[in-house]
């Protein structure tokens, strides 16, 4: 597993993808943070980070697919998945290594962007508990996003299809509860609420650690990584 993890991390920096992801994310994150948080704080208004993190979720739904689109699609296209699948590394270990590599990229870039908090503390009086809650929420949400991207990448050998497919699914899962106001049928509303990644984020924004949300995001990760393993097992046993 270590060999695949190392190779994946390395591959982000032997192609432009890793640099593009970090640069674009930090630029957008810094801009949004400045617009919706720092400027308000410096003008004496409430330094709420709510808008910043809401915008960030949609930014992630566009940028996370950059990290996951090639993860399996490229192996398939280059024929290197045969190398991995005939090695001693079990399928679940291969899937986990690729997931962890993409998640390390996601999490480490996010943690770098937390340096912005320093500015906020300098010019305003934010609540540390709330900020911490948001940060934990983003790290959990990111894991779910990455798992979904990894799964979709395993379905195709075309990186573009993997990326567009992931963006579509992530946006749908983010926006699904917004449709609720237009739906009268209660069970559909329940399903939409259950599917909604966004609605689970709520308690973190109050600085409350929501164990149910943790379970929800962990379940999303487990289900999509399990499905990825099944994709490869099914291909072997087809």
């Amino acid at each position: 597993m270590g060999a695949i993890l190392k190779k994946e991390l390395r591959s982000y920096f032997t192609s432009p993808i890793g640099y593009v992801y970090i640069a674009v994310y930090l630029a957008i994150s810094g801009f949004v943070f400045s617009m919706f948080t720092v400027q308000q704080a410096s003008s004496g208004e409430d330094a709420s980070v709510g808008t910043y993190f809401t915008v960030l979720m949609f930014v992630y739904s566009i940028l996370v697919p950059l990290l996951t689109m090639r993860i399996f699609a490229d192996e398939k296209k280059q024929g290197t998945e045969q190398l991995l699948l005939t090695s001693r590394v079990p399928i679940w270990s291969m899937v986990l290594a690729k997931f962890v590599a993409a998640y390390i990229m996601f999490a480490s870039t996010f943690l770098i962007s937390l340096l912005d908090y320093y500015v906020l503390f300098k010019y305003g009086k934010p609540q540390p508990g709330v900020l911490f809650g948001y940060a934990v929420g983003v790290l959990l949400l990111g894991a779910a996003f990455v798992a979904i991207g990894v799964f979709i990448s395993s379905l195709t050998e075309n990186q573009i299809i993997a990326a567009v497919g992931t963006i579509a699914v992530l946006l749908l899962m983010l926006c699904v509860n917004f449709f609720n106001q237009y739906i009268d049928i209660s069970w559909i509303r329940v399903v939409c609420n259950w599917l909604s990644i966004y609605s689970r984020f709520g308690n973190f924004t109050y600085g409350v650690f929501d164990f149910n949300a943790l379970l929800y995001y962990a379940s999303i990760c487990f289900v999509f990584l399990f499905l990825t393993v099944r994709v490869y097992q099914r291909r072997r046993y087809q």
Partner: protein, 324 residues
């Protein structure tokens, strides 16, 4: 040692392999021959654990590939039909990755140097794989199969797309590997298999149609003898006389080349040269040339793979293996 027993593979309703069985002994080089789409790659993919079999077993060095895949794969070095290379890695980085992937415990530097030496890629160690020629890529693909010094080496069409010089180099490499490894070497190029293999297994339409030692395959497959006689004289009469010789099964008159001669191709169950000479001498028909024509591997191959479906299973030929 590799033991393949009754492999059956279906893709949906399509039967791709039907009761494929053969054994490869220690340090034996087996050429796995068949036309495109015959089931070579499917068989090798099952043996290496990339695909599962619908029925049957593949046992590598005593480990079943389905029941004990981790240990079975530890004994295999596999070069798939498309070399599994990462174009953004240098050759050295790639081999180092394979070393880690296989969990090799040999001395990293020394082991990888030896492999680079054997496969003659030491001079491109620091070059990106994506920038290498087809021949070098193929050699890097073989090099990754050798990492960890596995007992069994499986090479799926290793010479496809190479120039003649590169093909000879790969053949020599395979021959050398056969000294210490059990090798399966698949190809649809007959002369290649003949040049490197101790034994040839021919597959067609998912069935094994021949399994013989290389030097014996032509004798076992086809006991016919074939000669070309260049004879001066009346064509029709000579033709009739040749047909009457006991054992002759086929005569064909071709255009002559010199001295108003006619070339006759004669196929027979026995050596009929003395009988032909006697008849020609008795009739005063000068014989100006004789050529014994062997039945080559191409003809054997075509004769086996062109058989109608129903006759294939019964056509299978095999004799006991020395080391099976």
């Amino acid at each position: 040692m590799i033991e393949i027993k009754n492999l059956v593979k279906r893709f949906g309703d399509k039967l791709v392999l039907s009761n494929v069985s053969f054994t490869v002994g220690d340090n034996e080089i087996v050429g796995f021959l068949g036309p495109n789409g015959a089931g070579k790659s499917t068989t090798l993919n099952i043996v290496t654990g990339y695909l599962s079999a619908t029925e049957g077993t593949a046992v590598i060095e005593g480990c079943d590939i389905l029941e004990d895949p981790q240990n079975a794969r530890a004994h295999i070095g596999f070069l798939p039909e498309i070399p599994p290379l990462y174009p953004d890695m240098t050759v050295a980085e790639y081999l180092s990755f394979i070393y880690d992937l296989k969990g090799t415990t040999l001395n990293r530097e020394k082991h990888l140097e030896e492999i680079a030496e054997v496969t003659r890629i030491a001079d491109v160690g620091q070059r990106l794989i994506g920038n290498l020629s087809k021949g070098y890529k193929q050699r890097v693909g073989i090099a990754q199969a050798l990492v960890g010094n596995p007992k069994v080496i499986i090479l799926d069409e290793p010479t496809v797309g190479l120039d003649p010089r590169q093909i000879i180099e790969i053949r020599n490499l395979v021959r050398m590997l056969g000294r210490d490894h059990t090798v399966i070497f698949s190809s649809h190029i007959l002369s290649e298999v003949q040049a490197v293999s101790d034994r040839i297994v021919i597959i067609n339409k998912g069935q094994i149609v021949a399994d013989e030692k290389t030097e014996e395959i032509s004798r076992v497959v086809d006991g016919r003898r074939r000669f070309t006689f260049s004879i001066c004289g009346p064509q029709k009469e000579i033709y009739a006389a040749l047909k009457q010789i006991p054992g002759v099964t086929y005569v064909e008159a071709l255009a002559g080349h010199e001295l108003d001669s006619t070339q006759f191709v004669v196929e027979s169950q026995t050596d009929v040269r003395k009988a032909v000479f006697g008849i020609l001498a008795a009739n005063d028909w000068p014989l100006i040339g004789v050529e014994a024509m062997g039945v080559n591997l191409e003809e054997i191959f075509i004769s086996l793979v062109d058989k109608p479906d129903g006759k294939q299973a019964g056509r299978r030929i095999t004799t006991p293996k020395a080391n099976a």
